[in-house]
Symmetry: C2
Subunit: 215 residues, 2 copies
DNA sequence: GTGTTCAGTTGAACATGTTCAACTGACTGC
DNA sequence: GCAGTCAGTTGAACATGTTCAACTGAACAC
């Protein structure tokens, strides 16, 4: 019954998270709703954070599907970035009421739900691969010097947009959409300009900085 | 005795936070160490978050003093930004072991300790005023078009650096210092370049975006 | 058949943030 | 003087994440 129980706890938890948010969903409620003892949930999931991590995986998958549909249409870097980011806003929209709570959990460095944690590896890989496809399939092509680092930078930008989204109380997250509409062409323009001699130095600095900081 | 008690609880809490971190400092321990009942701490501070907010205020004040000493030396935008940001890394260094916990608390949108919260108004104003002085006193002067918005953007950049700092496990937060050493001249360069015709459009886009997003 | 093992399960126990009804004592109005 | 008020204070009670010793039953060895 182990696998069944684990799946049951998982789906029950995700449903309650969607219905009630993070704080209002107690471990006791999850266990009771799933018809198991409290301690049993802990046998299958080390903590409440690990259950939230499962929710992230779900949402990331939804976003990846929507994003790939957008990417299949081709387009230049700006259009593709805009499409993928807006798909993200749409995919997350359902959770906006509780988004704040969840991001709180996610940002805690030690948390299993952190986008940088080992436990989030699956979500992170999936999400980053979408941004790799975004960059690689752009036409006109992204300058060679940037092609390697840009996907990860765009993934970080997406995290930043998500952080903004959390604080965005406007109806339908209009401000976040405005941010995406503005930031996508801005990034597209800067990437194009990075080829010009005046900006070549700045572009190199950015790449050198990314490498220096990473090591 | 109210004011005395409040000050006593405050200072006891800050001491324990510094000694033990956030999670390991229980409200009961604070109250006991201060020689008052648990409930009494709650009479003076609505929540544990509100006590953390007091810690932020302390740290922000230390940073402001150090930053102003740097700014008194003059310099161009790059030098001033570098100095202020490094002063921040130094001011926070003492708390790095527990920084992650505290930022977790700070980033929760509803939290009193959030840098955007009403309760953090005093810290925020103080910190932003430092960045205003940074921009206004820079020589050569910052282009007029940017002078108004730049301070807040730099303040946001500082929040970003702080977020990076939280995840920075390198000894002495070397990676964060590398980031600052790289990002200060980069921002300085972009601000200088913003006057050039090629970048004028991008600079205007940034400002327009900031305004659109804010409203 | 009998004993052993062990993944899976149980529910009570624990620590901690927070709430609350009750108490205290200084000050006020008369 | 005396009753009343109310800021300040108390400690028990509550809810919740998490832990843990004990139990169950199926699979396996002999």
């Amino acid at each position: 019954m182990s696998d069944d129980t684990k799946a049951l706890v998982r789906s029950t938890a995700l449903r309650l998270f969607r219905e009630r948010g993070y704080a209002a969903t107690t471990m006791r409620a999850i266990a009771q709703e799933a018809g198991v003892a409290t301690g049993n949930a802990y046998y299958h999931f080390a903590s409440k954070d690990h259950l939230v991590q499962e929710l992230y995986l779900d949402v990331t998958r939804e976003h990846a599907v929507a994003a790939r549909a957008v990417l299949a249409q081709g387009g230049d870097l700006t259009a593709r970035l805009r499409g993928v980011m807006l798909a993200g806003v749409d995919a997350f929209a359902e959770y906006h009421a509780f988004g704040a709570e969840f991001v709180t959990v996610a940002i805690r460095p030690g948390s299993a739900a952190s986008p940088f944690s080992a436990e989030s590896g699956a979500s992170r890989e999936l999400s980053q691969s979408v941004f790799r496809e975004l960059v690689e399939g752009a036409s006109p092509a992204v300058p060679a010097g940037l092609r390697e680092e840009l996907p990860e930078l765009l993934w970080l930008a997406q995290l930043g947009v998500t952080l903004f989204w959390v604080y965005d109380g406007s109806p339908g997250q209009r401000r976040t959409r405005t941010l995406v509409e503005g930031i996508a062409p801005l990034i597209g323009r800067l990437v194009r300009l990075s080829r010009l001699p005046v900006l070549r130095g700045a572009a190199d600095d950015v790449l050198a900085l990314v490498k220096a900081v990473r090591s």
